[in-house]
Amino acid sequence: MLRKLFRFKGGVEPVTHKSASAQAPIGKHPLPSQLILPLHQNVGARAIPCVRVGETVLKGQRIGAADGWISAAVHAPTSGKVLAIEDRLATHPSGLSTLSVIIEPDGLDTWIERRPLDYATLAPDEVRKALRDAGIVGLGGAVFPTHAKLSAAKSTAMEFVVINGAECEPFVTCDDLLMRERAEDIVHGASIFRDLLEPRRVLIGIEDNKPEAAVAMRRAVETLGFDFEVVVVPTRYPTGAAKQLIRVLTGKEIPSTRRSPEMGVQCFNVGTAYSTWRFVAFGEPLISRIVTLTGNVKIAGNWETLIGTPFGEFVAIGCPKPDTGGFLMGGPMMGFEIPGLSAPVVKACNCVIVAATPLFPPPRPEMPCIRCGACAHVCPHELQPFELYRFSRAKKFDKTIKLSIDECIECGCCAYVCPSRIPLVRYFRFAKSEIAARRKETEKAAATRFRIEGRKKRDERMKAEKAERLQKATAKTSGAGDADATKRALIEAAVERARLQRETQAAKNAETAGNRETALEKNPAVRPNDVAG
């Protein structure tokens, strides 16, 4: 039966440039001289380092433990020695550094004891916890911890699990090759997601520019005897974005204010399904991933690369041509320039594009917005980028929120079609990060106000308690509670105290004077002129 497909509004059809890297089978990237493992490779909390400098680690040993539920562990990709745990250049557009574990491989590649997960008998929550400790995160690029996505909403029955093999970004072919070569593992992984979420149907969406992958996946589903449905969807950027693929396959539209399980859908990347199965069936945590290397290189292709391989060593395998101008991570639509070749390949890294002038000419100057509306036509979320641009630029962020900037997925369609060459997404990212910072500030201000009010209340209470105590004490001394008598008694007590103090002081002074005199006898230069009395 042919599934009725839906359409999302907008989208663009850029040249895909996929064939260059999709010719050769997946290669195995050689062991690098050093591995740099940032401890923060997932959405959520940073992992806590759990090895010491100088310690010998085995391949697959946990080196960073998940901190809380929305977090994921980090593992040693090979055996070797921990050289340092320090801040290193992060694979991040900011060019800032982040806490990383540096491992020097010993070349032996000795595995830690691998134990398949007995997931048929384990409680679902135990399976989720195991996935968290195996460091499994979404490999489509968003790196959201997978275990946290594996719970159905209480209110809604799960209808669909969508396995995302659309891979709509130009240049990127890592999912394509993975589906062609390791389809059965992906299907097995999808079956784990199915068991945990219990949907009515599992849909595997693949764009129609990857016929080999679709055939391989269909064959795998048939061989393994699952009732999953492999659906070929039209090629149109950004079909591979989770919300768009869900829309195309199921017709459901998910607003930014709701999570997809609340609408009865959950979406996983094919790479995530693959690494989930590798962990469940073979006990291998997430220590490597397939990375596409393409663009201005002599040898383009896909390599299974250890997480933590420095980009310098990674790109060397493709022999970049001499006129190389820079390196992009991710696709040309949503990716960013790698801040330096010492930064490492991380879990989020699906593709490295070696850039050169003919491929990516330098951005031409931005021209004024002519409000032609081309951006609004292609926006897959039906926003008005030209209005968002106007208000982002003017820093009127409240207005951008009213125009639903939160719905923007930064796909870059608007900037792609803009005749004035305005880097619209850059403006939206700026506005969104400002908005996020302000929300955080507002939250902190509210917490602070709560603390201040609490302190004020406490001060008042303590004052009242003190007054009460004093009153009680005076009531005790006065007995009948006669105010004058109390006062008199207090005064008398004070006078008595003062007298006592005077006496002891006088005694002490006399003693000191005596001491001084003995001191004077010994050393006549000291004059006791400062001794009173």
């Binding site: 800032l96 931005e366 990060s433 201000a445 302190r455």
Partner: protein, 185 residues
Amino acid sequence: MNIIDSVLVAVAVMTLGAAFIGAVLGWASARFRVEGNPLVDKIESALPQTQCGQCGFPGCRAYAEAISSGAPINLCPPGGEAGARKLADLLGREIPVSGVVEKPPQVAEIDEASCIGCTLCIQACPVDAIVGAAKQLHTVVGSICTGCERCAASCPAECIRMRTIPETIDNWKWKPPVFEIRRFA
């Protein structure tokens, strides 16, 4: 009906109407009376709650009250331009031409070697961000500290420094695109 009568009727109708409306308004103002000034609450929630007093008023609440009775809106350095803009939007006022003094966010830090454990800073801290006891080393809980500098002023050993919060990956923000005009001229 002669003209005098119609004038009298008109006057009577107007008087009765005015009396009725006046009574309703008087009753409503007593019935739906709002305690305090709701505007002050709104202004206060737009202020950063550092309680630093750098505006010249003792705390954010006091400054909010002052703004509602006409004080300028650009006196809050921790709020910076963004804060002044928020106030301007809220009150429909313009940001004064003199601009806003910006101050980067900071936290207090106690030099452990010279802390004498006097507890004066603990008493000065409006948000209970300093922990410690008499004759024990004190320390600042950085995530709660608002950087108001009150503890620094209270310390007799001068061992509290204000440290600007550095830019990290977690608080990094995208910058708006800047094009060099000269390059393309």
